[in-house]
Subunit: 397 residues, 2 copies
């Protein structure tokens, strides 16, 4: 049984801040600067080039991949870290399309993170005009799984509403029609239990700077099902995915298994920061995180709805249908989010009118939620957001 006070004690949280935006960027593990600094001074500085072998830098991408894999129900040895989530979406989609030759349609939904749709569009444009990206509403995905689809590419948890797709059911339905699945776990990994192996998901991708707390721009990950991994042709065929990168052969031969999804030189410094976050994840289980997260979200919904009838719930009311965030719609949402940040309650805003709050039991307690609700009630009821400086739209947070 996890005492979340012990995980919370492992993070730095600024004085006076209630942080409800870990769904966008997780807070810093207290051990991160020291661990990164130790790597830089003890490995980079002292070992120089020999660090690739002596310090095990070359194995970090798969070693850490396994630790992430445990949190998303992947078979051991089937997750590797690297690049950014957008790149990993591209990689997965390019491979998946080739594994389903003869079909040219990719199904996604308009609640998918836009970058996934942009990347798909960019890839399909490169492949030719016979390819189609078909985008439907999240609620309509199931009825649009047809046998002309090559790939169904979805983000499990909607970044705006927190609405959660039924990964097991949709994957099963897709397979019944001969469709390969790609699941983006950006708002799932570290937020909710994921069972990639059990769902027989084909590909999955995700980032590590949100719920996993790896730091700004932390590396992404990719999972490939054992059924496909040795058949998948890497479109991004970089040297570290080669069977023998240091043979410097002129011809590309993909490495065994998930190794082939590596591309270029791994980001060692960033991977070291992520290691300290995964040490905290080792202290708990996704099942415990999930039940605590649902309780926090339910508490938040009840508190805000009671105090702020001006706000309209924009997330599923039933915890099992949500990820680990709660969104409310409010016409003055942008200004309200700025006013809340000024009061120390950090959430974020998503156009056109969505106030979004993430809940992560690792470092957010029921007391934090109660305090946040009080501040939100004050800001909304007393229109404290109604000040010109809160309406200046620079880049939104």
């Amino acid at each position: 049984m996890t005492d979340f006070a012990t995980t919370r004690a492992r993070f730095h949280l600024p004085e006076g801040v209630i942080y409800l935006d870990g769904n966008s960027l997780g807070p810093m593990p207290l051990a991160a600067p020291g661990h990164v600094s130790a790597m830089m001074q003890g490995e980079w500085a002292e070992m120089l080039i020999t660090g690739w072998n002596k310090a095990g830098w070359m194995e970090l991408a798969t070693g850490i991949g396994n630790r992430v894999g445990r949190l998303i129900g992947a078979e051991p040895g089937h997750v590797v870290m690297g690049d950014t989530l957008s790149i990993k979406v591209y990689q997965a989609l390019a491979s998946a399309l080739e594994l389903n030759p003869g079909r040219k349609v990719v199904l996604s939904d308009n609640g998918n993170f836009p970058s996934d749709l942009y990347i798909a569009d960019g890839l399909l444009k490169s492949l030719g005009t016979e390819y189609e990206l078909r985008v439907v509403s999240p609620e309509d995905v199931a009825e649009n799984i047809t046998d002309d689809l090559a790939v169904m590419m979805l983000t499990e948890v909607d970044y705006r509403t927190g609405r959660k797709h039924d990964m097991a059911a949709l994957t099963k339905a897709a397979h019944a029609k001969g469709v390969i699945t790609i699941w983006d776990l950006a708002h799932s990994a570290g937020a909710i239990p994921v069972d990639l192996a059990g769902c027989k998901a084909d590909f999955a991708v995700g980032c590590s700077y949100k719920y996993l707390n790896g730091g700004p721009g932390a590396p992404a990950f990719i999972y490939v099902n054992p059924k496909w991994v040795d058949q998948a042709r890497p479109a991004l065929s970089g040297w570290l995915g080669h069977e023998a990168p240091f043979a410097f052969d002129l011809d590309y031969r993909p490495g065994a298994g998930i190794e082939r999804m590596r591309v270029g030189t791994p980001p060692v410094i960033a991977l070291k920061a992520l290691e300290t976050a995964l040490d905290i994840w080792d202290m708990t289980s996704m099942a415990e995180v999930r039940s605590a997260s649902i309780a926090l979200c339910d508490q938040f919904i009840a508190g805000v709805e009671a105090a702020c009838p001006q706000l309209t719930l924009h997330s599923p009311r039933n915890g099992a249908d949500r990820g680990s965030q709660v969104s409310f719609r409010f016409d003055d949402g942008f200004a309200a989010v700025q006013a809340l940040i000024a009061r120390g309650v950090i959430g974020d805003f998503r156009a056109p009118d969505v106030m979004r709050f993430g809940f992560t039991p690792l470092y957010v307690s029921p007391g934090d939620v109660a305090a946040a609700v009080d501040i939100i009630a004050d800001v909304i009821s007393n229109r404290l957001y109604d000040r010109p400086e809160y309406r200046l739209k620079g880049r939104v947070t």
Copy 2:
């Protein structure tokens, strides 16, 4: 006039080590751990998500791109950091091919870094069987520039021999035949003066962990000529290359200029380490680095040739035709490199028999070269490499 003792003093170099492998991984700027730690503790920890605006994380990729751009003769505002070099090769090649529709052949040479060839092969396979990757010897590139080529993709300095292509002449010859050029500057940036603008190079890419000293897995960069940058369609169309990433539109519209070559969330921690390296680069000029580097390489060649007739020079003898490295061929080269590393002279080995040494005046002095030559003479003349433990081939360094 740069006193290279002052730049050397800004790096950590381990006691007893003469480091001649900065062409593979540069040493650590002494300021790097503190700067990274300050960013983590002062920005990530304290600002959390608001760091993207408050700490300027979002502008790092272009700001640092400009600082790298100065070292490679790019027009201001035409270089952006991100991803890995292999990804940037893919990006450049995908865009370049579309800018030359109707032609389907990519010319490269067999001295190009294998990952560039792998990436090209992977992309061309995705695009279709009508595409061809034509690989010739480095010496034969000029005569193979024909008007059926879409793109000429070369690494300016050969990673094995240090042989330097004539970028200005080859670019001019390519343009005369309607061929778009991509220059990989992996062994050029920070090694030799590069004049991208003057050469009218179309695309250029490179990494920052070699001569630029950004750390293991430091981010790559891409340059696009002003002539093309607003026409180039990004195949890797990620959200940060979008005209308005935070509008979360469903349709991709490429950003203005080089911004469109951004893909995913930038690697903030790694970019911070690189900043400290660029502070050192601000202390000197590429012209001074180049003349000092040629002197170091000439001294090394003369010393090794005088002491070790067993070794055969594998680099151009004329400094102007070389990058900033010197290679020798030697049948027992693998074992000899291991023996040298054991004696504190760190170079590296490239199959089948190449001993490779990089020279970087920022932190390698004529005294270091003299000492390295003495140790090499001892190891070779007295066959000190002839021990079983030096013949164990694990991953080469």
